[in-house]
């Protein structure tokens, strides 16, 4: 398995999904070697072998995380580890050397996202194993609906063509692969992500002091809306802010918590001031651990406002912590949940209505919160592993359709 990150060295959902699906597969008897492009220990991983392709520290700390294709530039020298391209080349070399050792034999090559697709293609050339490309997000998603970085796009295009089988994390993503990369639909299967509720620390107890001010607002009857996300254009946060401002103009006991960091942060801070609602918007920065879980717990409503969200695991995490959900139609997770409000990412009026609706009706909020819990708990990584094992067994090496 070829991946770019694993927890706790992840910059987002990609690492989390890779971790859980690999773990579920191994519990069902699949043996996995997982190659990451950095060096670090993964103490919680004993179910597979993790290989470090370079000596770098985890890449998100160097601005080369899984979501930073916008910073992608062609490097000057081979082996230059200061750029994503350089790390990718080193990653390919590592995979080549690894496969050179005939003791390392694989039945399938499973590559996650464009970052490892070149290595996947090279591995396919060097072995008899079929290449399965797992698309968690496309460059189209990362660029917020624009075509994005041409280098990343081209690597994806080649990887998708060379793949024997493609896994998309949602119908939303499958549709993008078909329409933006001209891949035949029958080559793509949708395998939704799941949530492992057991992975949450059972001893966790919500601490109302973490977000003491928000908690005091709730005592006053306020409804806390939240988005826990990278602050980046793909996430549709400027629509969220304007929709929230419209909601506030109708019903004023609302607060919006934005937990996360990203290149859009300053723009959003300015926009909030322009809308005259700075005092209702709380920028918590990037949160981990207790602050991360308490961010869900302090929320009454979780909004996934993405312009294009391949899946959106955070919505399931939020539901697990007892929030009502509002999701855009273009979020993959909206395909697997029904007890939620959905809206078009640009439809700020509709979003405002939905926020005010939940905030002003305790019964509606209670019903949505309880019903979505029943829905998400039916999604399991075990089922994902069953689908993947089935897919591995069906997939035979084919010539690339070029």
């Amino acid at each position: 398995m070829l991946g770019w990150e694993l927890p706790p060295h992840n910059s987002g959902g990609l690492g989390v999904a890779c971790y859980h699906l690999a773990k579920a597969l191994s519990l069902q008897g699949t043996s996995i070697d997982f190659i990451v492009p950095y060096s670090a220990t993964h103490d919680s991983i004993d179910f597979m072998k993790v290989h470090n392709a370079t000596n770098l520290s985890p890449l998100h700390k160097n601005g080369m995380g899984a979501y930073e294709s916008s910073k992608l530039i062609a490097d000057k020298l081979d082996g230059d580890l200061s750029t994503i391209r350089g790390v990718q080349r080193r990653y390919v070399s590592f995979v080549e050397a690894h496969l050179d050792d005939k003791a390392n034999h694989y039945d399938a090559i499973h590559a996650h996202d464009w970052l490892t697709m070149e290595a996947g293609m090279r591995a396919k050339e060097l072995t008899d194993a079929p290449l399965i490309v797992h698309v968690h997000s496309t460059e189209f998603d990362r660029a917020g609906g624009n075509s994005g970085n041409p280098i990343a796009h081209e690597i994806e295009q080649q990887g998708l063509l060379m793949a024997d089988r493609i896994i998309a994390v949602s119908e939303v993503t499958k549709a993008i692969i078909i329409s933006k990369y001209d891949i035949p639909a029958d080559k793509i299967e949708v395998v939704y992500n799941a949530i492992d509720v057991n992975s949450f620390d059972e001893t966790y107890q919500y601490d109302g002091r973490t977000y003491a001010y928000l908690e005091s607002l709730r005592q006053e009857g306020y409804t806390v809306i939240s988005a826990i996300t990278r602050l980046t254009v793909q996430k549709g946060l400027s629509h969220l802010l304007r929709g929230f401002a419209k909601a506030v103009s109708k019903y004023d006991k609302l607060a919006l918590l934005l937990a996360g960091d990203g290149e859009q942060k300053n723009e959003l801070i300015e926009m909030a001031a322009k809308l005259g609602i700075s005092d209702k918007i709380f920028f918590a920065g990037f949160v981990r651990g207790k602050q991360w879980r308490d961010a869900y717990s302090v929320s009454d409503v979780f909004v996934m406002s993405s312009v294009s969200e391949p899946f959106g695991l955070t919505a399931l995490e939020a539901a697990h912590h007892g929030t009502a959900l509002i999701l855009t139609y273009t979020s993959g997770v909206a395909e697997v949940l029904d007890s939620v409000f959905k809206y078009d990412f640009w439809d700020e009026d509709r979003l405002a209505d939905q926020i005010v609706g939940i905030a002003t009706s305790p019964a509606l909020k209670k019903t949505m919160t309880e019903d979505v819990m029943n829905e998400y708990s039916k999604l399991s990584w075990d089922d994902v592993a069953v689908q993947l094992n089935d897919l591995y067994s069906r997939t035979r090496r084919k010539g690339a359709i070029v």
Partner: protein, 408 residues
Amino acid sequence: MSQRGITLYLHVHQPYRVRDYSIFDTAVDHNYFVETDPLSHRSNERIFQKVADKSYRPMNALLEKLLNSHPNFKLSLSISGTFIEQASQWAPDVLDSFKRLVDSGRVEILSETYHHTLAFFYSRSEFEAQVEAHRQKIREVFGVETSVFRNTELAYNDELAQWADRYGFKGILSEGWDPILEWRSPNYVYQPTGTDSIKLLLKNYRLSDDLAFRFSNRAWKDWPLTVDKFMSWANPTSQDPLINLFMDYETFGEHQWADTGIFEFFEELVGKWLNSPDRTFYTVSEAIDSHDPVGTLSMPATITWADSERDLSAWTGNDMQREAMRYLYSLEQDVIRTHDQSLIEDWRRLQTSDHSYYMCTKWFTDGDVHAYFSPYSSPYDAFLYYMNAIRDIRWRLHAHHGAGGLHG
């Protein structure tokens, strides 16, 4: 006729910068100003000590020396209340050295707002309370009365002059900005429109800024600045009675470091200026008392001494700044009626104009100056910490009054 005189006025101030005050501190920890990490570059104490070593101690020593050696050397100072508090807490020797200057009888102290605020533009009652608090503090610490007013950032308009006139000040300071002066010279005393007896002194911004901003700039065509060059610009044969040099005190040693030669320059300038019986130094009161106004001057729109616009845009130019000030001043009634001195003090410290200045997003020529003075990595961070502090004040008000709402 009277002697030509330099009216040197230096502004002494340090704000209480807001620490890295996050949402996780809000409603929990009401300390906004004391960095928990003593080594933080944002620690008010550390900054004060650094500036004391670089500027206050060496410059006051130089001023004392010049006062001793030149009977006609005089100057005026404005010293903010927040500076006095920090100096008494962290560097009593610095405060003592200012007292010695004032005791010489040739150093005048100006009136201003205690917390170095722009309250005049938001609340007249709050503004007057701060002016009175400052007067009281100056009386206590230096044993002198103030009679000439300077508003924070030299922010000035006709309305302010009329207020100061009615309030009993005999003089007021402003920027001598060309678009307003047109053909007039800043080197004379004027009378503000609509006033009875108050007189207006205008900053000669070219000569002031040659020292304050350009002195060490190697890209400046006139670098290096020599005293002879400066004296020739001051045109010693001119009939203009005044040269008003108004600037931050910290120009000496902090904005312009000692290694730029600013101290030597200043010492030489004082000596050369005074080597002719035709020339002298004035305190602001003397400049006012010994010259009649040559005309009236009207400034309906507010001007300040900052940036190329010379308006309030460095403090209220963007939405963040306007929002922050709106939230802050809307709390006035609720804060004052608590009679809780520490709460009122925190709220007033948040009024210090430096906070809005740190939120300024004008990143061009003026942005350089802003970035130099800001302890934050961006104006957006400055805004977020500040907003959290305002929310905490709301929380405390809510707790105190037991009602009233948190308004978001």
